[in-house]
């Protein structure tokens, strides 16, 4: 479970009350924000429990998925099979795709290699680079692990109808783009001030 968060969210009336003192506090916005983080945390907790039972972390799992997407032809059943891009293989590409630093990726690949799910191979042409490859053991692990993982995520979302899922995704996408824009402006302000 990732970040520390209040177990019981403040009730809406409390937010209304607090808004009297802090005019910047938008009660419904704060409520939505808190619920978003809380729910995501809880949903993630359920899958993470499954991950740790299989002795793997979210980060390592993410790397395996990226490699799996790249090793398997992917477009085998698609008409334009040859157009399918091969996913990332270098640590740097993996780090970029997984949204972590290269240093973190080094650690993840270290443990994955130690567990035999992955091997590192030097790049023959550019001697700075490495290739990270999924082993047969790694692929076997995914093949055994994924069905249960998918069942869990399906169960978590099973209370929502197809329409509800659609609206949820739509609303989340709005928030996400807003957050991304805000983050960009934050970075801009930071680089301008330094």
């Amino acid at each position: 479970m990732p970040h520390l968060l209040l177990k019981d969210l403040p009730r809406f009336e409390c937010l209304l009350e607090a808004a009297k003192e802090f005019p910047d506090l938008d009660p419904s916005a704060a409520e939505a924000y808190l619920h978003l983080l809380r729910t995501s945390d809880e949903a993630f907790g359920v899958t993470e429990r499954n991950l740790t039972e299989h002795n793997i972390s979210q980060g390592r799992f993410c790397v395996l998925m990226l490699l799996w997407r790249s090793t398997r032809p992917g477009g085998r059943n698609l008409p334009d099979a040859d157009a399918i891009v091969i996913g990332p293989r270098n640590p740097a590409e993996l780090a970029e795709a997984a949204n972590v630093t290269r240093a973190t990726m080094t650690g993840l690949v270290d443990t994955l290699e130690r567990d035999g799910y992955v091997v590192r191979e030097p790049d023959p042409v550019d001697r700075r680079m490495m290739s990270v490859c999924l082993t047969a053991k790694g692929e076997r692990f995914l093949r055994e692990f994924l069905p249960g993982h998918f069942r869990i995520t399906s169960t978590v979302m099973s209370t929502l109808t197809e329409n509800e899922r659609k609206t949820l995704v739509r609303l989340l996408a709005k928030i996400q783009s807003q957050a991304a824009a805000l983050q960009a402006s934050q970075q801009e302000a930071w680089s301008a001030s330094s």
Copy 2:
């Protein structure tokens, strides 16, 4: 930013494709799940950036909020002021409310005390216990920090109308209760097997 997550979520067609191979994969459920985590991560990232700029972590901030809720009368403007419960003060209560272990709370209070936001005082009646109290500096910090924090969360949610926020909270609550139920059943299964 808490957990490692794919930067670009797989497109829905890819999920449909993968579902052919994994019958347990419910494409719309997986899509909703991934969007939920991704959006929460991004939204949290925006506020966390603000937190770290003020040299504080989400965990410490959470503790300060809990203490603040407990020190201030809270019900000052409410009719039934005397019925207002006083919030947690012991490390154990704080840990429970913040959803972390007591060991973690020790560390959080350590750094908060080092920064002068909080003091520890031994309980006069039960010598096992400590009382954690917000200092004037801690309250001043909150008073200066919160407006900006509220502005940020309001901005993140500003793309949603009041109605959209309501439906979002409703859908999230459904997911949350489902996740909580699942977690309970997981725990049950675990304790039964051991």
